[in-house]
Each structure stands twice: as C-alpha cells, then as structure tokens.
C-alpha cells in the first residue's frame, strides 16, 4: 500500500448530486491543478452544479471532494477552503443600489479582510484589472450587463485567491474584454471555468473537460480534443448522406464528420469537430 498522497488543487471522486430523481452530477471524478481548466458541455450537462459543489456552496449527495487539500464536509475545513477560493456564480445577482466599489469591498469584508486601508487598495486593484476603474463609483443599476459581469468577476478575484471557480465568466464580454480575461486568468494559479462556447476554450484554457449528462466524457488538452476527430473530417462541394454530420461552411463547401469515403479530401480537425464527434457518441 502506498503511503504517499498526491495532493491536487481539486480532487473529486464519484461525485453525485441529485435533484429529485434526476442526477445533475452522476458519479463524476476529476482532478485539477495549476492552469486554466475549461468545463465544456451542453446546457443542463451539470456544469453549474459541479462548480457550486467545488465552491463549497452545495454539498454532494455522494462521493468525496477535496479542495486545496481540505475536506469541505468538515465545517472548519470548509471555512478554510472559502478563505482561499474565489467564486463567480452563474448570472450573479448583485444589489443594484451598490457601486462596484461598495460591492467588491463588501465581498472583501466577507472574506475576512479587516484592514480598511488594505481593502481599499485591493478593491481598486481588482476593479482596475477588470477595466472598471472609471465606473467604480456609479450605481450598479446604471451599468451594462457586461460591466456587471465584470463587477462579479472582480469580487471573485478579490484577495487574489489561489483557486478561482468561474461559471461562464465570458458571458456578456466583448472580444476585447475576452482577451483581457485571458491575461487575468493567466495570473491566477488554478482556474476552473465553465462554458458552452468552444472558441472560449481554445482562447482561454490549457485543459478541457467535457461533460455530458452529469459525467465527464473527456479530459485532456484542447489539441487532444480536436485530435479525436483526426482523419474523420473531410470537405467537398456537396452534402454527404453517409456522414454523421454535414454542414455548409462560410466558403460554400461542405464539411463532413464521420467515416470518410475513399478518396475524400481529409482536413485537419478543429476543436468543434472533436466536440461534435464526442456529442454524437454520447447522444446518438
């Protein structure tokens, strides 16, 4: 028997979360370490439920969970884990009568930062990081959806936690802000972010986990996800009824996924191809 324990930033084993009879997360096992991990999957795959469990907001019905080497089912360790993680909920509801400064400072209080001067500096720092320095004293109700999203992101990042759990962080961000998000995320040590947008994965993530129906069906780099469709994507100028999927691209030619016929012009697969092939396998 081995006595060495390998500690991951996140280690989840056979996690289950049920809502009534439906299992939102159904026996999921994963580990995450330094770097940006993208959780990819269709709506309803259980990404949000998983992230809420990782953020210690929701208790799993079964399975084991270890966050930063701590067991969140033990109250004291749960509190300790909360000191060290930042969480961006899906469509965060922020009180509209607060300013971004008020709100982030308040979250810093909740994270037990008692030094007012330090808190003020830190609040300004994170709001500047997300590009909200010009509006930080305006009421949240006057801000756009993308700005509100960035207020919540700033609140998640306050205190520079070693673990960031972000539920759809790029929602409402324009391309420029997405680019900025990328450099922000590269500063954090471990990030787990959910998305249903494949281009975000290739832009932001070093690793990608694909979820279908509460289970993990793929774990690897974005390149490895694309490589799943290696030799199974081809293009020609008309639809192919034998392909698993065929669609017309912007150039007018048809792209096909499946077993290519003899002599077909096989092309390099993209992340989308790998994901679609996986989706087909999971939900025929």
């Amino acid at each position: 028997m081995s006595t060495t324990t390998i500690t991951h930033t996140i280690a989840a084993t056979d996690l289950v979360k049920r809502y009534g009879r439906r299992s939102a997360v159904d026996g999921l096992t994963l580990t995450a370490d330094a770097g940006v991990v993208g959780l990819l999957g269709p709506n309803g795959a259980g990404k949000t439920t998983l992230l809420r469990m990782l953020a210690t907001v929701l208790a799993p019905d079964a399975g084991r969970l270890e966050i930063l080497g701590l067991d969140p089912s033990v109250p004291r360790e749960r509190t300790e884990a909360r000191r060290r993680l930042g969480y961006l909920p899906q469509s965060p509801s922020l009180y509209p009568g607060f300013t971004p400064f008020d709100l982030v400072d308040y979250v810093a209080v909740l994270k037990e930062h008692t030094d007012r001067e330090w808190r003020r500096q830190e609040t300004r720092r994170v709001l500047e990081e997300v590009g909200l320095e010009d509006v930080m004293h305006r009421k949240i109700r006057t801000l756009s959806g993308g700005m509100r999203q960035r207020v919540a992101l700033a609140a998640a990042m306050v205190g520079n936690p070693p673990l960031l759990l972000l539920d759809e962080p790029a929602t409402g961000l324009d391309p420029d802000q997405r680019l900025r998000l990328r450099s922000l995320l590269s500063q954090a040590s471990t990030v787990v972010m959910s998305t249903h947008n494949i281009s975000e994965v290739s832009a932001l993530c070093q690793r990608v986990y694909v979820m279908f129906d509460g289970r993990l069906t793929f774990e690897g780099t974005p390149g490895e996800l694309a490589a799943l469709a290696e030799g199974r994507v081809w293009e020609d100028d008309r639809p192919d009824p034998d392909a698993i999927r065929s669609w017309q691209t912007s150039t007018g030619s048809y792209r096909h996924l499946g077993d290519p016929p003899a002599g077909a012009q096989v092309v390099t697969p993209t992340l989308d191809d790998g994901y679609l092939l996986l989706a087909r396998r999971e939900r025929p």
């Binding site: 965060p92 009568g97 400064f101 008020d102 979250v107 909740l110 994270k111 037990e112």
Partner: protein, 284 residues
C-alpha cells in the same frame, strides 16, 4: 524686430512654474508665452511628463475612495457589514418595520390613551428583535447574492451580524419613545423600559435557534409573536386593567426575568452548538 531669435523659457523657469515656486509675475509671463509657443509647450510636457499627472489623478482618486471616518457604529468587521445589512430593500424594510413597531405604534396609542400605549409597547417591542432575526435569515437579502455563500463569513456569523444591525436601529428608537412618553404624556417607571428587554432577547434567540433547524424562522417568529401577544392579552383579561404597573408586577419579577434569561442563554448556546447547520452546504 520680428527676425530676432525669439525668447524661450529656461528649464529653471519651467521647473519653478511646475513646482509652484515661481513668482506671480513669472507665472503670468510663462503662461502667456506657453499659449503662443509650441516649442515651450512640448518642453513643458517633457519636463512634467505623464508621471506626475498620473500621480495627481491617482492621489485624487485615492482621496475620493478613502473611507470617511466612521459616523455609524462599527461592528466587529467594520461598518461595511452594517451598511450592507441595512442598505438592501429587505433590510431597510426590516429596520423601518422595527422602528414603526417599537416607536410609532406605541407612541400613537399613547397619544390616544397613555396607559394603553405603554401596554402596546410591551406587546410589540419584544417582537422587533425576533422579526429582525427572521429577516436576517433570508439569504436573498445579501447584496452579493450567491457570491456571499462561498465566503468564510457565510452562515450564522453573517446572520447574527445582520440581526444585530437591525436591532441597533430598533433599540434606540424604543428608548426614544419611552423618553418622549415620560416627558410629555405620563411618567414611565424606569423598569418599564427594561422589563421587556430580556423577554425580547429570549424570543429573538428562539428564532435564531429555529434557523438552525428545518423550521422556517418566519414561522417561528410568527408563532412566538402570537404566543407573546396572547400572554399579554390574557393578563389584560384576567386583571381587567390596562394599567402598566399591573403588567410590570407580573413581568418585572425576578422569576419571569430569570426565566427569560435562561431561555435566551439556552437558545443561544444551542444555536452556537448548531451553527454549522446554517449554511447553503447541506441545505440546498
């Protein structure tokens, strides 16, 4: 004359102008010259550079953000919690309700019939803290929404702080009413002002305890409120009087006060022991 080499500002003059040490006459000529001379304007820009300007802006922004010395009483975690507690619509409503209950209602009744007013105060005042506690349990009244659930302050600590914040508003208003009645309407025995405090604490502690169980704190506070009102009404019926002294004889006895203290202490101790059940973890 126009062909003469034009006069330009020396670096000493520019430095003196920038530092604000130049004489008023020199400042006037420097500014007049700068308006006309492109070369000296760029020399000025070079001398001052963007850094001091940025610094000035930063200093100004710093000034604006600097928290004003606290005018509100500071709780253990600074006044942001207090502000956050009573700034949301729910908590504003709670604080207003508390003020109305322990302030306006008895005052109006006292204007109509002084003795009935004091009895009314006796009925409603102890209910105010328990309603404050019930409101503090509503998780949707947090300005940061689910973001707050993943912080170390989440749970009973936050609930207790919020309840305390509302009580801090309600308590002075009840004392003010007593002083007003005493001054203008009829003398109030000092013990009247204190007799309801321990029963009020006991009721609030019971609601706090209810929040650590599956019971709805709202329901608990409603049941306790009805029970308390019934007890006072029963006293009115049995003794056939609205004279406050009659209630005081019953309420201010050492036995009743000791019982209230015992209930409050017991409920608070039990709540402390069960504090970990107040958490979205395991309850959502």
């Amino acid at each position: 004359m126009s062909t003469r080499e034009p006069w330009h500002l020396s670096s000493d003059q520019l430095a003196g102008y920038l530092a604000g040490t130049a004489s008023r006459a020199l400042v006037a000529s420097v500014e007049a010259h700068l308006l006309a001379c492109e070369r000296c304007r760029s020399a000025l820009a070079e001398t001052s550079g963007p850094a001091p300007r940025e610094e000035a802006w930063a200093r100004l922004a710093d000034e604006i953000d600097r928290p004003s010395p606290g005018t509100l009483p500071r709780l253990a975690r600074g006044d942001r919690i207090l502000r956050a507690s009573i700034a949301t619509p729910t908590m504003v409503a709670a604080a207003l309700a508390a003020v109305v209950m322990v302030g306006a209602v008895p005052l109006l009744t006292a204007l109509a019939a002084p003795q009935a007013g004091l009895v009314t105060l006796l009925v409603v005042a102890p209910l105010a803290p328990s309603i404050a506690v019930a409101l503090a349990y509503r998780e949707w009244c947090d300005p940061a929404g689910e973001l707050a659930a993943a912080t170390p302050m989440a749970g009973l600590r936050l609930v207790a702080l919020r309840a305390l914040a509302v009580s801090l508003v309600a308590l002075p208003s009840s004392i003010a009413v007593l002083l007003a009645v005493d001054a203008w309407l009829s003398p109030v025995p000092i013990r009247f002002g204190l007799a309801w405090c321990l029963p009020g604490l006991a009721l609030a502690a019971l609601v706090l305890l209810a929040g650590t169980t599956r019971l709805d704190p709202w329901l608990a506070s409603a049941v306790l409120g009805v029970g308390w009102s019934a007890a006072v009404a029963a006293t009115v019926t049995v003794r056939r009087t609205l004279r406050p002294e009659q209630f005081l004889d019953g309420l201010a006895t050492p036995e009743v006060q000791a019982l209230a203290l015992a209930v409050a202490t017991g409920a608070l101790l039990l709540t402390a022991a069960r504090r970990h059940t107040v958490d979205t973890w395991g309850n959502a």
